[in-house]
């Protein structure tokens, strides 16, 4: 099922839709360039996160707590401590996953998993500040300037359109990294992700890139 999306898209040939008639003004371009410049100095990030998921499948909101490690250009580690232990490490185009239930490591190619691809690509862009690369997939609007808040709405012919209605990204006052992300999904579910205790440009322990290591 993981490659279904990618392969199906080949067969869904409709009339051309101009994806580039972007209404992005000079202001938004300047803002994105400014953010990219500001965040380009950040080489590593380690931060705690609190993820609040409102999913129709559950009676209540699910709150996940964990840690994120990022090292440019292509390392990302996503480690959930509660309510269940789960870790995911991305190296280049491959992701390795582990969870405490199965206690097994599973490897998946990013290109074969559009769900992961969209999620990971988004995370990379948020933390790396490479927002300009998202203009192909999203219409980006500046909601507030101080502190900066950006809204991302997928273009009509973007893959993200299948799952996401809107993403709102809130920045810290110093604009060096993001404070919170809110995702509204197409099926009515929503997720908010708050980052706390962020440490920039600190040496990240090698164990962070080992998927089955102690996730605490």
């Amino acid at each position: 099922m993981k490659r279904i999306m990618t392969t199906l898209l080949l067969f869904v040939c409709l009339q051309s839709v101009n994806a580039y008639a972007d209404n992005s003004s000079r202001d938004i371009t300047a803002v994105l360039e400014g953010l990219e410049k500001m965040m380009s100095g950040t080489k590593t990030i380690s931060t705690d996160f609190i993820q609040e998921k409102s999913l129709a499948i559950f009676n209540q909101k699910i709150i996940l707590k964990g840690k994120v490690f990022i090292q440019k250009p292509s390392l990302l580690s996503w480690r959930v401590m509660s309510p269940m232990r789960y870790s995911m490490v991305m190296r280049g185009n491959t992701i390795s996953q582990w969870d405490e239930d199965t206690n097994q490591v599973q490897q998946v190619r990013l290109a074969e998993n559009p769900g992961f691809q969209v999620a990971i690509k988004q995370m990379q862009n948020w933390f790396y500040g490479t927002f300009k690369s998202m203009v192909d997939d999203y219409k980006i609007t500046l909601i507030t300037e101080h502190p900066i808040t950006l809204e991302f709405v997928p273009w009509e012919n973007s893959v993200s359109r299948n799952f996401i209605t809107r993403v709102t990204v809130f920045f810290q006052n110093d604009e060096r990294y993001i404070r919170e992300v809110r995702i509204e999904e197409k099926n009515g579910d929503s997720t908010s992700l708050v980052f706390v205790n962020a440490q920039l440009n600190q040496l990240i322990p090698l164990s962070a890139w080992e998927v089955k290591a102690d996730v605490r």
Binding site: L9, L10, F11
Partner: protein
């Protein structure tokens, strides 16, 4: 021919010389003008047998959905430009080519639509799609242990970073009952074999440096003129609409059509020029007689006239047949040479003509006979070849016997240039003759041994003479986009769409038993025939009794409580449990289904075809051929299988044609010589040529193909003439310049055939190699081997007796 007739024709031609010149001149000028208006056809079907399997395949290829598409592969040449720049360039190109009537649709931008929702919605057909084998599996899941395991899985997936994509599927199928259907959709979609990434709705390569634009056209693949117009149009647009940092290659069957036509046209021009120059040099250097130019011009004029006549009869002429023009000229010129040499040697009298008319007519008859047997072939192109060749030969023969002599000098003129071509003395010593024959036998034995290594190449792709630049572009294309190993296709047919679906389903069920489901991509896996779907749905309804449904509902609720699943968590699953959809109605509103249908279903004038794809390997073709044979209208299309089918069909036909040709040659030789031993000796060049061709082809690193076999038959016709003439000379000793005549006849044929060695088109080249080997060895054996054989085998006394009888 009786003396009276010959005298009458001779004197009539003499009296009407002026009128004949005028008439011939007018016909030739009209024919040359007519060449400009000839319609040529390079459709390969013309060169294929009318065998049912071959015709099925060709019809399928002609009418298949993919035959109307051209792919343009765009490439970023400049590192400083991005994929975004490439996409914009692709959009610009697409917009610029849309306007032409030769372009039906341009696909460069695809919308993903709401694929996830579509797939979830498609699961409503699950009751119709899941066969009897699915129910025991479902039953095995209906226990607390399995349910708990699945719920844990759903919970874990819900919390993973990529859960947005998975949620709708997890809710619609918490037990994973329908994962097989989703996997089948994936397999079907993947069977295109191309490695494409969707970037912002565009078809982009994995490296982000290439983009794909698909052009649909109403211009048929095999329509030479239309294909050229379309390719020229697109190439023009590529030049004007693309920025300099983007280059483009067109990959399509239309390019092959145009390229093959270009190669063959260039070959015809090149070989004609080489042949013309060589003929001119030969005649000017050896004959040194302005009148000899007539012999040289006659076959070209005959070919020009014959092309027009053939076009009148066949409407369209095959380029491959016309490509044989220089060879035909080389053969047709022979009769003029025989007459010319006789007249120069013995003077222009009716007696001279009488002495040569018999061997000339018989030699023409053998060649005409060889070509005539091609009329018995089922290959339309061979009919054209036979008609075109025989028409040229007959015209040349008439010209040589009845018109040419009146334009030559009446005096004897034994040319000094031909002195070297005097025959060996018939009174040569026996030991020398024996040595000569021994050497010949030894060479033939060596060639026979070499011939045991002969390979047969039945791949029809070898006749694709497409240019290097096209092959290079295709290699690059496959490196970037994959899709090189194209699958074989099993075609199921039906008069109605539903009938075709049901046949496809029956075939699918048999096929997966033979080669496994993984190897057989069939639309039946996601949309079986009505009978199958109806039976599945009824079985499903019976299985999902209220009791079963309540049992699952209760287990999901009970064991899901620990994960805090909501009461509605799996509502989508239960909603579709009893919604089997309308059996009679095809899925509507599913873009992915529509596009799969476009790929897998072909609408025909007389019904429908449903395609299934599998690896093009012998083992699968063999197993699935056994399946397809059991279903009327079903057949397999595969490159490998097609070559085998064609070679099987042509092979049996060619055996018949070759045997007919050899029998005809032997019969005509006997009719001329009226002596079995002499006839056997006269056939020496035929035997020599066949063995030499068989020996030289493997030595040259080549393989035998259909063209070689046909060329070998033509060789039999040509070299049997040499054998007849030399044997006739040995018997009658007429001083009509036989040796120089045979030599020049061979030289001109070799020029015509040798010119083909410069051809780029593989079919013409292999014909050239076969003809040169056969004619050269046949010529040498007729001059060197026939006289010693004659002396050793036929006593002089008997010859004199026979000569007396023959001259009566």
């Amino acid at each position: 021919m009786s003396g009276d007739y010959l005298s009458r024709i001779h004197s009539l031609a003499q009296k009407r010389k002026g009128a004949i010149i005028g008439f011939l001149g007018a016909v030739i000028v009209a024919s040359i003008i007519g060449l400009k208006f000839i319609k040529y056809n390079d459709n390969i079907e013309m060169m294929l047998p009318q065998n049912a399997a071959v015709q099925n395949t060709m019809r399928f290829l002609r009418e298949a959905n993919f035959s109307d598409k051209l792919v343009i592969s765009l490439k970023l040449n400049d590192e400083s430009h991005t994929t975004q720049d490439l996409i914009l360039a692709g959009d610009g190109l697409a917009a610029s080519i849309k306007s032409s009537s030769m372009v039906k649709q341009v696909i460069n931008n695809i919308s993903p639509g709401d694929v996830a929702s579509e797939m979830i919605a498609f699961l409503k057909y699950a009751p119709q799609l899941l066969g009897p084998e699915a129910l025991p599996k479902i039953e095995s899941l209906m226990n607390p242990g399995s349910i708990k395991e699945r719920l844990k899985f759903v919970y874990r997936q819900s919390l993973s970073p990529g859960s947005s994509f998975l949620m709708p599927f997890l809710r619609a199928d918490p037990l994973g009952l329908f994962s097989g259907i989703l996997r089948d959709i994936e397999n079907l979609s993947m069977s295109s074999g191309y490695d494409v990434v969707i970037n912002n709705g565009h078809l982009i390569s994995r490296d982000g440096r290439h983009a794909m634009v698909i052009v649909k056209t109403p211009v048929a693949l095999t329509e030479g003129f239309g294909a050229r117009k379309l390719v020229t149009y697109l190439r023009g647009k590529l030049k004007t609409a693309l920025p300099k940092f983007v280059s483009a290659d067109i990959v399509a069957g239309h390019i092959h059509t145009v390229s093959n036509e270009d190669v063959i046209k260039k070959d015809i021009q090149l070989t004609s020029i080489i042949a013309l120059l060589a003929f001119l040099l030969l005649f000017l250097f050896f004959f040194r007689d302005p009148k000899a130019v007539m012999i040289f011009l006659a076959p070209f004029a005959a070919v020009a006239v014959s092309v027009n006549i053939a076009c009148f009869v066949f409407k369209n002429l095959s380029y491959s047949v016309i490509g044989m023009g220089t060879v035909i000229s080389g053969i047709a010129i022979d009769y003029g040479i025989y007459v010319y040499m006789a007249v120069r040697k013995a003077g222009n009298s009716q007696e001279t003509i009488r002495q040569v008319i018999r061997p000339v007519i018989f030699s023409a008859l053998t060649t005409i006979g060889i070509f005539a047997v091609f009329f018995f072939s089922s290959v339309k192109g061979y009919h054209q070849l036979a008609f075109f060749s025989n028409s040229s030969i007959i015209l040349c023969l008439i010209f040589s016997l009845f018109i040419l002599p009146h334009f030559l000098s009446r005096e004897k003129n034994p040319a000094s240039n031909f002195a070297a071509l005097k025959p060996a003395s018939p009174l040569n010593s026996k030991p020398r003759d024996s040595l000569c024959i021994f050497c010949w036998a030894a060479i033939l034995a060596m060639m026979f041994i070499s011939g045991t290594g002969l390979r047969f190449n039945n791949d029809i792709a070898q006749f694709d003479g497409v240019g290097k630049e096209v092959l290079s572009a295709e290699k690059d294309f496959h490196n970037i986009w994959g899709g090189k190993a194209m699958p074989a296709v099993l075609v199921a047919s039906g008069r109605t769409l539903e009938g075709a679906y049901q046949n496809n389903t029956n075939i699918y069920q048999a096929a997966i038993k033979k080669i496994g489901k993984d190897k057989f991509a069939s639309l039946s896996s996601i949309w079986p025939g009505l009978n199958t779907r109806k039976a599945n749905a009824l079985r499903w309804q019976e299985f999902w009794s209220t009791e079963s449904e309540n049992k699952i509902k209760s287990m999901l609720a009970d064991y899901g409580r620990v994960y805090n699943f909501s009461p509605d968590a799996f509502r989508p699953f239960f909603q579709q449990l009893h919604h089997a959809g309308d059996w009679e109605v095809e899925p509507e509103g599913f873009a992915f289904f529509d596009h799969l249908k476009e790929q897998y279903v072909v609408k025909k004038d007389d019904g429908y075809q449903v395609l299934s794809f599998f690896p093009d390997e012998d083992k699968y073709i063999t197993r699935l051929s056994a399946v397809s044979n059991g279903y009327p209208g079903a057949f397999i299309v595969s490159q490998k299988n097609f070559s085998n089918t064609v070679s099987r069909a042509l092979g049996s036909e060619l055996i018949f044609l070759s045997l007919s040709a050899v029998f005809l040659t032997a019969a005509l030789t006997f009719l001329l010589l009226k002596d079995i031993r002499l006839s056997a000796i006269a056939l020496t060049p035929v035997v020599t040529s066949i063995i030499m061709i068989a020996g030289v082809i493997p030595l040259a690193g080549l393989a035998v193909n259909m063209s070689c076999i046909i060329a070998s038959m033509i060789v039999v016709g040509i070299v049997s003439d040499y054998g007849m003439f030399v044997a006739y000379y040995c018997k009658h000793k007429f001083q009509t310049g036989t040796y120089p005549a045979v030599t020049f006849a061979a030289a001109t044929t070799l020029i015509g055939a040798g010119a083909l060695l410069f051809a780029r088109h593989p079919m013409l080249f292999s014909v050239g190699v076969t003809l040169v080997t056969g004619v050269l060895s046949g010529y040498l054996s007729s001059l060197i081997i026939i006289p010693p054989l004659y002396r050793l085998w036929i006593p002089e006394k008997k010859v004199i007796q026979d000569e007396t009888i023959s001259l009566m």
